[in-house]
Amino acid sequence: MENLIHVANLLILGSFLVRDILWLRLLSIFGGLAFMGYFALALPEPLWAPVVWNSLFGVINIYQIVRLMMERRPVHLEPREHRIRELAFPGLSERELLRLLGQGRWESTDDVLIAPGDLPNRLILLSEGTAEVLVGQDQVAKLSPGRFVGEMAYLTGKPSSALVRTMGQVEILSWPADALREYLKEDPMLCAAVQRQLGADLAHKLRGQT
């Protein structure tokens, strides 16, 4: 029992030597258990203060380990999620992508997506199929998968000046504009990924307008 103090310190020493935070926390928990055993059982009179402190450290470490394990679980993308990643967000990891897609809603439609004068309250990403942009009767652009709809209103807060309608059945992913803005405020990396794609899309549309 007296040797438990050495075992505990060796485990803590081991935790300092590893670089992976998961192993650091695991070794730290076992070190803490050894400390608790020593202070509770090896001394003539148990010392409860270090036992209680090590219990607290252990609980915190277990909580953080569960979080780490949740974050490190493999994720699997559905085909349509793969497609969106390739089309619009190649720089995002699968987990980041799922976080972003989780804020949106998939939908199949064959309808007008935006009418002139609308202030769309959602940002739409075309996943499959095509849509056309009409100013009056003139088709001014054709939108293919990976293109946004409603992004100019999303960016400027101004109503649409053109009509966007699908050319047959399309699959879209849409995010509520205000909720997406708030969500992206908390995650600069996802925000940058969305901005990058919005910028590429906008640059494409602006080139088409000149």
Partner: protein, 182 residues
């Protein structure tokens, strides 16, 4: 007026800043060349300069250090082959023209010192560089007509505009200029 101030390029040529402000432009007001702020800014904004350029927005950076410092700055942040224009105005008149302040507290206060220490630990150097160390930086986005669309005045050292906020302003400006909007 910012366009009427005179700046100096890396070759020592005096230019009217107005000559560099043709079209939409993001003007970034740096401090002296050795400041941690430059490192923080370029680390965050550097990877996004291509996005800004693709939207037809020029980037001009105005420092307050020596002309010789421009070359070192370009090398350190690998900007030699970029489309970014870096000039300097050690007289501070350009910074003052847009209302950017000098601040003893903003540069020497506890928050500023914490910025220096915490970022040094993460690999962002801070040296005295050259130029007026008390001058604060900032950023302004001007549209093609020279109108101010967005600005950020650094209230203290390290208080740089987040790259997402800069990009948001650039995107908002360019989307607002589109012939048709959806």
């Amino acid at each position: 007026m910012i366009a009427e101030t005179t700046v100096t390029d890396r070759h020592g040529n005096a230019l009217s800043l107005g000559d560099l402000l043709d079209g939409p432009v993001l003007v970034i007001f740096l401090r002296h060349w050795g400041c941690v702020e430059c490192s923080l800014l370029l680390t965050a904004l550097g990877p996004r300069l291509g996005e800004i350029a693709s939207l037809g927005v020029k980037v001009v950076m105005v420092g307050v250090g020596s002309v010789a410092g421009i070359g070192n700055f370009l090398t350190r942040y690998r900007l030699e082959n970029s489309e970014v224009t870096v000039v300097t105005d050690p007289s501070l008149k350009t910074h003052q023209a847009v209302g950017l302040k000098k601040s003893l507290w903003g540069v020497g206060g506890p928050q500023a010192n914490w910025t220096i220490v915490s970022n040094w630990l993460q690999g962002h150097p801070n040296t005295l560089g050259d130029g007026d160390i008390w001058q604060l930086g900032g950023a302004i986005l001007l549209d093609g007509a020279g109108a101010e669309i967005w600005r950020h005045d650094n209230r203290r050292l390290g208080d740089i505009a987040p790259h997402t906020e800069i990009m948001d302003a650039v995107l908002r400006m360019r989307a607002g200029e589109a012939e048709w909007r959806i």
